[in-house]
Symmetry: C2
Subunit: 386 residues, 2 copies
């Protein structure tokens, strides 16, 4: 169960013919209320896809009746015509649902620079509207219809003891360094919550979850995370309770994205401790996460801490090489300005690798999640236009 877990939501995922081969490529998530508050965060990339420009605009009202999503075409770098395609998609959804187009968000993912096949897409909206259901299967169909190079759908659901819940799905396997958002994710809740509180909770949750995933530094043109609240549980949680559960659901989805990233053979968690500021901790973690020499060493199960030291040394952050400590999988390899235990003592042969950098300069911490750089990543991205 994911987006259809919370009460008040229906979903569908159909094959509209945008992708070849008859795969599901169009998803619809509808909020039947009684309330329709919503919030969204979007890519920081200056090159923003048409659906991002549209959805960011409609979200200013903090209200959504529905979200329509397609895979197979990002509708990015497509000019005014591309924006009109997005607008026409929202209009079509509004028409079949009997709502206003301004209450419909649009998300797209796939190849940049190509126009959407609008005939296929618009008739797909008709099929999706007919297939809408509040079932677990319908939620799975929606979560499946947004996938590109992902090998499996990513769903999460958390139920609060007080009788409300949060569900969601996400997609994304490459071009994955979300900044205020990931590739695409839709979250739903039946809690009673205002649009402003929803917005604050979403920003707090994504800052510590989607923003801490960095597979290849490639912040996409289409990154979007949306959250829709139906109020159907009749329960109004505190903002703190809501933010905590939302963060929990987001982290569940992020872990699934990390585990299914393009070419992944290792999941790598990089924790930077003792930083002078959280910004320093995040910057150091991201630079290590994006460093190809670190990533290839991890692919080779090689605790090559010298490459970690090189990577962190090129960050514009406060560092004292004599206080610095570097550990992999619990074995401290560098401390006091020189080699500590021998690299042969750190066993990185398993799938999960933990890198801990302790700067001993302050009390700020951040963990960045990444993956290794494998032959699979190179193969997938040299052979596949995405």
């Amino acid at each position: 169960m994911s987006v259809t877990g919370p009460a008040g939501f229906r979903a569908a995922g159909v094959a509209a013919g945008i992708k070849a081969a008859g795969a599901r490529d169009l998803a619809l998530v509808v909020n039947d209320g009684p309330q329709q508050s919503a919030a969204g965060v979007f890519t920081t990339n200056k090159v923003k896809a048409a659906p991002v420009l549209w959805s960011r605009q409609v979200l200013q009202e903090r209200k959504l009746h529905a979200v329509v999503l397609n895979s197979g075409c990002a509708n990015a770098c497509t000019g005014p015509e591309g924006f009109q395609d997005t607008h026409a998609t929202a209009e079509k959804v509004a028409e079949v649902l009997g709502v206003g187009a301004i209450e419909v968000a649009v998300c797209s993912t796939g190849l940049i620079g190509e126009r959407l096949p609008m005939d296929a897409l618009l008739s797909g909206v008709d099929s999706a509207a007919k297939a809408l259901a509040a079932t677990e299967e319908a939620g799975l169909h929606a979560a499946t219809a947004v996938l590109t190079t992902d090998t499996k759908p990513k769903q999460a659901l958390r139920r609060h003891d007080a009788g409300w819940s949060i569900g969601g799905f996400a997609k994304g396997a490459g071009m994955l360094a979300p900044n205020l958002a990931t590739m695409l994710s839709v979250l739903t809740t039946d809690a009673v919550i205002s649009g402003d509180d929803l917005d604050a909770a979403l920003r707090a949750a994504t800052r510590l979850t989607f923003d801490r995933l960095d597979v290849d530094g490639g912040t996409s043109t289409n990154d979007t995370v949306l959250v829709l609240a139906s109020g159907a549980s009749g329960v109004q949680p505190s903002r703190e309770e809501f933010t905590e559960l939302l963060t929990n659901v987001c982290m569940d989805l992020v872990r699934q994205l990390q585990d299914d990233a393009e070419g992944v053979t290792k999941t790598i968690d990089i924790t930077v401790r003792g930083a002078a500021s959280e910004a320093d901790a995040v910057a150091i973690g991201r630079t290590i996460a994006e460093d190809n020499l670190v990533k290839t060493a991890m692919f080779g199960s090689d605790p090559n801490w010298g490459r970690i030291a090189m990577a962190l040394g090129r960050v514009d952050a406060e560092i004292d090489v004599d206080k610095l400590e570097i550990a992999t999988n619990g074995v401290t390899l560098y401390a006091g300005g020189a080699k500590a235990r021998d690299r042969s003592e750190a066993d990185l042969s398993g799938r999960a690798i933990e890198i801990v950098v302790d700067l001993h300069l302050g009390d700020h911490t951040a963990t960045i999640l990444t993956t290794d750089l494998s032959h699979g990543y190179v193969e997938e991205n040299s052979a596949y236009s995405s």
Copy 2:
């Protein structure tokens, strides 16, 4: 001919036993004068190897009698003991040459975090001193002794009509994003030039050459470029003449580094035109150069300009997506906010690829040199501890 091309220099490259397998691993370059002016630029990485700390210090005098270089061990992250090893190396060279240790620069390259085998290194200095010669062969031996994953030595020589010349060698194949320096390079000249003029010329030349090469974003802990002037030609060129020829020699070496980078199957020149500032042009070029999705697309000979648009959109620089143009190998693929000519028209099947981004916002330009991300790069860096 390289460092021994200009008059007044002798060189040697011997097998000291730092590397396994009896390969040449210790180089010595000596300036016999009559003058000994010198200048150097060093890595911007905060984690600086012991030889960088030493050489930066001795260069404050703008005078060098000799440079000793070793491969097989970077002597980085080795604490006070590592610094003493560098100091002892300089003292040994000073002793055998009858000069002061403060006139001897030291460079090291290889694995980070390991101590130098000092017995082998010090007796290697004796062998190198005996082998010193002003011949082409001796210069080649020195250029060979500094190599790590490079497949061939990189040498360059330019002679000015007025009777003076500049020669040099360089090494570096991975961890290659020099910033004010490359991995290691030694340049020699028999021009008559002061240390201050040499310093100014070196900074001007490296800014437009070594600083514009970015293979994998990995600015090393040991990056060093040194230039030594003997004055043996008796000719004093203008600073402009000297800077121009020095830039020419540096670019020749940089092209050789690019062409022999780890796993290279494509050399990629990224020119950013029409930028609001040179800093913007460089930042955009570097971000595209470091983007794994762009690099893997190039490996696959795929003119996937959407990835170039994504990469440049995440740079903190002035960009207008409607004015932006992107071309690969002379074919404009994106212009006026949307797709221009079809990607199938751009043939990237050859070894040399040219990416041109025109921002149409100003008149600043920069070209960044990089390579593709291939299976060879992953193989080399997951199997080799460097």
